[in-house]
């Protein structure tokens, strides 16, 4: 049986890891190479690296940083941020990433998901969705692009379903309402998406306490949980998280 994955996320801006609240008020959280190596050693199941400066334009400089991070990361490694073409994906994968995550580019050019899946396989293609609760509609969420700065009219659940059909192998779902609040994941959103697709869904945004992680999996139906603040700033270690989830009966990978 596959285990539930614990995935720390490095939001990288100007070569530093940062963490904000609801995508704003960024605070420095360290060096990406050091943090990546630490998470790999501590038993994280995967690492996600998002270049949050890059959403408008893909930055070549990120390749070098990805290479450096990959040298010390011996767990699956996903990279995203501003990627717009399969050539850029190829470059990212060749520099040591195992998967690429696309967000804005997939919204403006959905066939990118198909091209990527055909060239690298679906297992390499992660569709990242930034979701914001629609005003006056408690069970509707809208897709936001360009690092959350631009709301669209696209419905999150419909986009997830379409993304799977187009070739995404995984959905990385971030609740912008919950991001950085440490008040728990948006499990209504998580459940709506995980019920709608067959591919794995990674829940992101809102982790503050251990039971939040449990709830994202048990209530939200997530296959994996993404976190930043609670592990970057030393509130919990990866092992503490896994021991807790195991004690509540979830299958986790303890090395």
């Amino acid at each position: 049986m596959l285990t539930k994955r614990i995935i720390p996320c490095l939001d990288v801006k100007d070569n530093r890891v940062v963490k904000g609240i609801k995508f704003l008020n960024l605070r420095d959280a360290g060096d990406p190479v050091e943090l990546g190596a630490r998470y790999s050693d501590e038993g994280a199941d995967e690492l996600v690296f998002l270049d949050i400066t890059a959403t408008i334009r893909f930055r070549k400089t990120i390749i070098e940083l990805v290479e450096k991070v990959a040298e010390n990361v011996f767990i699956p490694f996903t990279v995203g941020g501003g990627i717009q073409t399969v050539e850029q994906m190829d470059e990212i994968l060749r520099s040591g990433a195992d998967k690429v995550s696309v967000n804005t580019a997939a919204v403006s050019k959905p066939e990118l998901l198909t091209e990527a899946a055909q060239r690298f396989g679906s297992q390499c293609v992660v569709l990242a969705i930034d979701a914001r609760r629609a005003k006056d509609k408690p069970h509707k969420w809208q897709v936001c692009v360009k690092a959350g700065t631009e709301p669209t009219e696209i419905d999150v659940v419909e986009w997830a379903i379409r993304g799977e059909k187009l070739g995404a192998g995984e959905i990385l779902l971030t609740s912008m309402d919950a991001d950085g609040t440490k008040a728990g994941y948006d499990n209504k959103l998580n459940k709506a998406v995980s019920d709608a697709v067959d591919i794995p869904m990674i829940a992101s945004g809102g982790a503050g306490k251990l039971n939040h992680l449990y709830d994202a999996i048990a209530v939200g139906g997530a296959d994996a949980v993404l976190m930043a603040s609670i592990t970057h700033f030393g509130n919990y270690t990866i092992n503490q998280i896994k021991d807790y989830l195991a004690s509540r009966g979830l299958p986790v990978n303890i090395q």
Binding site: L2, D45, F74, R94, G96, F120
Partner: protein
């Protein structure tokens, strides 16, 4: 020196990074002399089977010959699948034929996703040298849609559970293969690579 075969498939760099991290001298190459001079060969690979075997081209014969002469070989993922007789991934393709068996699709099971992607437990037999010092069971990272149905009576096999007992690793004399990615399986995976390097050193 361990040679990692460079044949234009994904993920070769990760394998080199991991081997370097454990202190192994490693060369990424497709040169005949380098492969001949190596103490052991690692055949990595993230690609479709047909593409991978085509990219390997003439090197297939050389690797097969050196392996049959006793040089340790470790196949990883598609590199492992290529050790077998054949695959049915996007048409029928011949493998290296070093171990009897066929590479076939993971059977459809409504409860389980294909590709089989993520961390899964592998039962580790005592007599498989790659798993020395790792205990009875460990979790490894997998990412694949086809698996090798091992029919070779001389091969030792380790299994994982994915709705059925699915082969996850083989060993036949100096030929080793793992369906999972040791270079992406954290400290447990690095230990498997270390064990392979030690096998190569003992063989020198």
């Amino acid at each position: 020196m361990i040679v990692v075969i460079d044949y234009n498939v994904g993920n070769v760099k990760s394998v080199c990074n991991a081997l370097r991290h454990i202190g192994c001298q490693v060369t990424l190459s497709r040169k005949r002399e380098t492969i001949e001079d190596s103490t052991g060969i690692v055949l990595p690979g993230v690609a479709a089977f047909g593409y991978a075997i085509n990219q390997l081209g003439e090197l297939a014969k050389l690797i097969k010959k050196l392996t049959l002469d006793g040089k340790p070989l470790l196949g990883i993922c598609v590199g492992y699948q290529m050790l077998f007789d054949q695959s049915s991934e996007y048409g029928r393709h011949d493998g290296l034929g070093l171990i009897s068996g066929s590479v076939i699709p993971i059977p459809i099971n409504p409860q389980l996703c294909v590709p089989h992607m993520g961390w899964n437990q592998v039962k580790l037999p005592d007599d498989m040298d790659l798993f020395t010092g790792l205990g009875k069971e460990k979790t490894f990272y997998f990412a694949h849609s086809f698996y090798a149905d091992v029919t070779d009576l001389q091969a030792k096999t380790a299994f994982t559970d994915y709705g059925f007992a699915m082969p996850a690793a083989v060993q036949k004399a100096n030929i080793y293969g793992v369906q999972f990615h040791p270079e992406k399986s954290s400290i447990t995976g690095l230990k498997v690579l270390k064990n392979f390097v030690e096998i190569c050193l003992r063989n020198e």
